[in-house]
């Protein structure tokens, strides 16, 4: 693992939002701080797929968007190929923009209905003189071919496509500038089961052909395990566990990861009915006012006194296996 090149390094990244305090009835506005991403550090190696899972509201989408500077981070560093891009101005950033792109969740909302497919794809190409109009057209056809669409599709509008095809257009657009790094934000959640597999296999093929690096965000844990090399689990803005995807699924350490794994429905009646399920009580607390200490302590079946007072450190307990939990802090 160590000889692999780090493409993106994220150091103590924080993204806070100011939100209106709805409970304050006074005249003046009062704001609260929502800690969507709170002190997250991890590395993404070149050519790998890094999976990011967690329940809604845990900050995984915010993290994905902050990493490619669609949001300005509140604090921390994002080191992309050795350069800290977290504080660059938008002008300085423009040289890095073409190296990173994004595929969005909803293929119905993320394509402009009034643009043809070729316009959509051309718009994402670098805006300089390196390409002539003819080159651009040629590139559109290449890209369409790459994602399994044909040249007839270039002149059509998004409404003429099915969900799976639209997501292919989204993938083609993300490849238009020859990026190195793509953030896939729930690219398959809006698609049917049989189509999901098509898109996932397409993403895998492209990664193989073009040497892409993915940050793959999803709440479908079995799909994340299938596509990812390493997986990070988030809870309330913090990363609670990170490991190789096989290790994580075979030996989850953090009680939250264990509960999450046991809650995945398995398409096998005998296994599904006999397996032991760890049911976590209650729901995810509000990120505006998270619990003290470990954010999971009020739902955790193994919480102790210490958990409600001290924030656990995100520590490497085994080779490449990081956990933020007091259960493992003393003994290792």
């Amino acid at each position: 693992m160590s000889e692999k090149k780090k493409l993106v390094e994220i150091r103590h990244l924080k993204k806070y939002f100011k939100v209106n305090d709805a409970s304050y009835k006074g005249l003046r506005r009062r704001t609260n701080t929502l800690k969507a991403v709170d002190d997250v550090s991890f590395d993404i190696y070149e050519g790998e797929t890094f999976g990011l899972v967690g329940e809604s509201g845990c900050g995984k989408t915010t993290l994905g968007r902050t990493v490619i500077r669609l949001y300005d981070p509140t604090d921390g560093e994002i080191i992309f190929e050795g350069t800290d891009i977290s504080k660059l101005t938008s002008k300085e950033l423009s040289t890095y923009r073409k190296d990173m792109h994004m595929i969005f969740q909803d293929p119905y909302a993320s394509l402009d209905p009034r643009m043809t497919v070729s316009e959509i794809i051309m718009e994402a190409m670098p805006n300089d003189d390196s390409l002539s109009t003819e080159d651009r057209r040629q590139r559109v056809l290449e890209l369409l071919d790459l994602v399994g669409l044909n040249s007839d599709h270039a002149t059509r509008y998004p409404h003429e496509f099915s969900g799976g095809q639209r997501q292919r257009v989204g993938v083609a657009r993300s490849l238009a500038a020859n990026p190195k790094f793509i953030v896939c934000d729930e690219p398959i959640s809006a698609l049917d089961v049989s189509i999901q597999a098509q898109v996932v296999n397409l993403l895998k093929d492209l990664q193989h052909k073009l040497g892409l690096t993915y940050l793959f965000i999803a709440h479908d844990l079995s799909m994340v395990q299938y596509i990812s090399d390493r997986v990070g689990v988030m809870y309330l803005g913090k990363m609670v566990e990170l490991a190789d995807s096989d290790t994580l699924y075979a030996h989850p350490m953090h009680p939250y990861t264990q509960a999450l794994m046991s809650a995945i429905p398995v398409p096998d009646p005998d296994m599904e009915r006999s397996k032991r399920r760890i049911i976590v009580e209650g729901e995810v607390p509000s990120p505006i006012n998270p619990p003290s200490g470990c954010a999971f302590h009020n739902r955790c079946p193994r919480a102790t006194e210490k958990c409600s007072q001290v924030i656990p450190e995100f520590k490497e307990i085994d080779d490449g296996h990081f956990v933020a939990c007091h259960l493992f802090s003393g003994n290792y």
């Binding site: 809604s56 049917d192 999901q196 597999a197 296999n201 079995s222 794994m261 398409p267 009646p269 729901e283």
Partner: protein
Amino acid sequence: MSKLLEVKNLSTSFFTKYGEIKAVNNVSFDLDEGEVLAIVGESGSGKSVTAFSIMQLIAKGGRIVNGEIHFNGQEITKLTEKEMTRIRGKEISMIFQDPMTCLNPVFTIGDQMEEVLKLHFKELGKAERKQRCLEMLDKVGIPNAEERLKQYPHELSGGMRQRVMIAISLLCSPKLLIADEPTTALDVTIQAQIIDLLKELKEEYNTAIIIITHDLGVVANIADKVNVMYSGEIVETADIRNLYYNPSHPYTWGLLKALPRLDMKENELQPIPGSTPDLLLEMDHCPFFDRCEYAMECCRQSKPEYYETGENHIAKCWRYHPDFPKEA
């Protein structure tokens, strides 16, 4: 023993300016008391329209064009709207996919729960109604029920709202509960809670459940038998174990192979090629024909019938025709 629900040759169509869309096409199935039937299929396969046909809540432009629905020995497709109102919500009730939109935002939880009782149990007094609502909220695992009755839907989380929906649907102890994608909008840990709740309540009230979902993992957990729908038709009906361990229809094979499993190794995921057919087109061949890797000449020429492939197990595929050559 007579069946609780029998659906015979049900067809529901929507009439649009482009032509007739056969959303549900000649569908038959039945259900015993206390049994859980799952209807699985992709979007547009007609699973929700089947449920709405049973409730007779079909959206504008659509109607049942053929078939019978017998509930508790009564033919309900011929009932007037007034007679149906007495059954709907009391004998058959339904929970919907999106708990965010199906509760009315301008009424309190208490108002919305009591409304059901006011309609179906006119003899109950105010105090008794409230008592029942409190008991029900308690049953579905909502703490501080007294407080919750006074709250509005936006004050509850997604999981809590779905619990409220389940509480409302079970207030009149219905014989049949139709759950249309009850956990699709929820996170996995909350989904596990809701599925467990449905199972407990089924045991307690002996309610029959029709669960509509595209998640074959959820089905494996809760269902007794399964209808697989494709393009408005049921292509396979089987007991739960048969469906997973001995599936008959190529579409079911495809669905099971397209699912990632935790024990799966690299490159094992096999998608079904193509996409679902356009329901506007008149089809005289097997609807799965152009996506099926086992398609034969006869599949293109005519639609297959149901053939028995095992005990309580039927599939609509030419491979099970008595004349189909058996593999050695």
